[in-house]
Amino acid sequence: MRRAVLPAYLLFSVAPLAAARQPAPQILGLRLGMSYDQAHSRLNDIAQFKSEDEGQQVWTLTHDQRYQYVIIGFDRDREVRYVTALVRPNGKPVTYADVGDLVHATRTGGPGNLRYTWRVRDKGGRLEYLVIAKGKDQHHLDRYAIKRLGVESEREDRD
């Protein structure tokens, strides 16, 4: 089991680099639309639960050299709606270009508050999602998020 998980983890860890042309709908092996149980199985492999607020969970990554926390939210069907990864202070830096081809991203903000956004539809056309990389630095991001479009959160406080 452990031998099977490790290669998969390595694969997921380099996924942003491998999929740089088209940002993938997954971070650290946490894929948009994944079931709650599947996501927790994956999270238990790579992180420790930290806290929960309004159905959104914060997990502390145990071994990742780039990211320190992952925040995950679920939709009403308890499938992964969004994943946000926060970089580890003094960790291995991640560039915006590691996430995807910057030519296809919308750049907003300015120095000290940069944001690249990719709006992506998967090959089957069934999944539309946003990929967002934000940071204060010109080259290196502070956080990296993927979010499904067209779904509502599990406990969205809307009226």
Binding site: Y82, T84, D142, A145, R155, E156
Partner: protein, 625 residues
């Protein structure tokens, strides 16, 4: 608004600072002639009568609050060292006072534990025409060692130096709030208006004297006819062009000084928003907000930009230039901020053009720091931005920006515990923060900070006079620095009155209460502002969309504001409006569960009828019903 041009920055800088430069030069010249407090320090021992006095430096100036003064120019410092251990001061206090002669001048007094970077443990910020400020400190609580007395020229003309005295003495007798409590009247929205309310907002336009309120999709202009007593209210529908269509969260904000009202309806990944400068007669459609991905729990607020005074500009030009770059870019003089929860964080965007466009939002905090949902934005008169949060670690929290929404710090509200309602802050005219919240035990609490949330004092259960055991929707507004009003819904019934009510139905009668302080939060009058007409029977569920039908009719918050006369207005949704429901609410032996409630959503305003308002300058003209 994603970028600034050099010329626009230059315009902003010039607009704000050119008039001040000449004054600053004069102040700087004057400062070179001034000296520090004389003497500059003393040591006191734990003996009744141990005393010291000093003379102020005689400088003059005007500041907004302690954060905008420059030491040696328009504020000065005197230090006191208490010898011995805290236990030596049992039955003793440190009393510090300052006084001056001319009633048109205004000094303020702050006392830090330790040096100036230490917490403000006591303050006295009376205004004109008072000629003295005083504080009392208990060394058994605050400790011995160094205290720093910071005297700030709030508005002082040359030639009226202050003098100070510090004495070890016996403590003054505690006294409850004295005087006459305020009274209130309720005004239900006209038939056909505000019938589908829920989480209402309210604002006061000081220029027109009108009240603006948002009841879900109805933007309502309310005019009170005071030629009769009690006053009558005229409610008019004044919807914006794009704010009566749909909403995922409604919010209205009125800048009382400029008279601009911003109406915003959360809509998918942004908001539909418009603003009006004439109480809804005409609108300008705005960009909506500065957050371009899925958002929730939006809030809009605003007020003064944080800009340097002339003295600060000379003392610290580089950070002042950075602030100026985030100042106004148009003739509209104030900042407007839009904030909401995003994916894993909460972010805030500044508008430098009065709410027409917004910059790319800056992160305030992530879910690692605090819960995602937050209360509403408030801005101090010196431009400090505050956003309250019900859960930052194990306590409530206050998110603070000192640079026009560029960076943020998260300050824990020490001594507090978390609950399900969003907290609220009111900011006094000289920067005192009043933080109203629901404690973990359901009781309504309010606590005070004089140092931008770094330390807290006077945490009180203001529901105690009524034995309130369940509370929702804390809302705070402040006027003068030492005056504030705290509006909340409460019930005296025990049990979980905010749950999904899945077991034995909760039985409780909810009323709207307003607690008011006139002495900086040391004591509060608490009044039942809806004494004969309950707001709700049974639970007020605060569990979001998991609440069963009919228990979340009031949605997530209420609101409170103050008009130019200092009169307090509160907006709430009335869930119990029929004669049958009201009769049950007034029958102590009747059932008071959700099954007895109307589950109505009627927009209603509470208007202060009598008593002192929140502005002392208006006390000479008593409020009339």
């Amino acid at each position: 608004m994603s970028s600034h041009t050099a010329s626009s920055v230059h315009r902003a800088t010039s607009f704000n600072l050119q008039p001040g430069i000449i004054l600053a030069l004069a102040a700087l010249c004057f400062a070179t002639l001034a000296s520090a407090a004389t003497p500059s320090s003393s040591t006191l021992s734990p003996v009744t009568g141990s005393s010291a006095s000093w003379a102020g430096s005689g400088i003059a100036g005007a500041t907004t609050d302690e954060t905008t003064c420059v030491d040696g120019t328009d504020c000065d410092v005197y230090t006191i060292t208490l010898t011995g251990s805290p236990a030596n001061y049992k039955g003793l206090v440190l009393a510090i006072s300052i006084s001056h002669q001319i009633k048109l001048n205004d000094y303020d007094l702050y006392v830090h534990k330790g040096d100036l970077t230490g917490p403000v443990i006591a303050s006295s910020t009376n205004g004109i025409p008072e000629t003295g400020e005083s504080v009392v400190i208990d060394p058994t609580v605050s400790g011995t060692g160094l205290y720093t007395v910071h005297v700030v020229d709030s508005n002082v003309a040359p030639g009226d130096p202050y003098s100070g005295v510090a004495t070890i003495t016996t403590p003054p007798a505690d006294s409850p709030a004295h005087g006459t409590p305020p009274t209130y009247a309720n005004y239900q929205s006209s038939p056909g208006l505000g019938d589908s309310s829920g989480e209402p907002s309210i604002g006061s336009n000081f220029n027109s004297g009108r009240i603006m309120t948002l009841a879900l999709l109805d933007t309502l202009q309310v005019t009170f006819n005071t030629s009769t007593s009690p006053a009558t209210a005229t409610w008019l529908l004044k919807d914006g062009p794009n704010t009566n269509i749909t909403t995922l969260d409604p919010i209205l904000f009125t800048d009382s000084i400029t008279g601009r009202t911003v109406v915003s309806q959360l809509f998918g990944t942004t908001s539909l928003s418009s603003f009006t400068d004439n109480d809804g007669e005409t609108y300008t459609v705005s960009q909506g907000g500065g957050i371009a991905s899925g958002v929730d729990h939006e809030t809009v607020g605003g007020g003064s930009f944080r800009l340097c005074t002339a003295d600060q500009l000379f003392a610290t030009p580089a950070p002042c230039a950075q602030l100026a770059a985030r100042g106004p870019l148009t003739q509209y003089p104030h900042a407007i901020y839009y904030a909401s929860q995003d994916i894993g964080d909460a972010a805030m965007a500044l508008s430098q053009d009065g709410g027409l466009t917004y910059e790319e939002a800056h992160p305030m905090y992530t879910l690692v720091d605090c819960g995602g949902l937050h209360g509403h934005i408030k801005v101090s008169s010196s431009g400090i931005v505050y956003v309250p949060n019900k859960g930052c670690g194990s306590t409530q929290g206050l998110i603070v920006s000192m640079d026009n929404g560029l960076t943020f710090t998260v300050e824990p509200v020490t001594g507090s515990t978390s609950n399900s309602s969003d907290p609220s802050v009111g900011i006094g005219s000289k920067g005192r923060v009043y933080f109203g919240y629901v404690a973990g035990d359901g009781h309504p609490h309010i606590t005070v900070s004089d140092d931008q949330g770094r330390s807290w004092q006077h945490d009180l259960d203001v529901g105690a006079p009524f034995s309130i055991r369940n509370t929702v929707f804390p809302e705070v507004v402040a006027g003068d620095n030492d005056r504030a009003a705290f509006f909340f819904l409460g019930t005296t019934s025990a049990g979980d009155g905010t749950s999904a009510d899945t077991g034995t139905p909760f039985s409780g009668v909810w009323h709207g209460y307003i607690a008011t302080t006139y002495n900086g939060g040391r004591t509060w009058f608490t009044v039942d502002a809806t004494p004969n007409d309950a707001v709700q029977l049974g639970v007020i569920c605060t569990q979001g969309t998991t609440c069963p039908s009919g228990t979340r009719n009031l949605l997530d918050f209420n609101d409170v504001t103050v008009d130019k006369a200092g009169r307090v207005f509160a907006a709430y949704t009335d869930g119990c409006i029929t004669a049958a429901c009201i009769a049950k609410s007034n029958n102590a032996t009747a059932s008071h569960t959700r099954l007895d409630n109307d589950q109505a959503t009627k927009a209603t305003i509470i208007r202060q009828s009598t008593g002192l308002g929140l502005f002392k300058s208006q006390d000479a003209t008593p409020l009339k019903p």
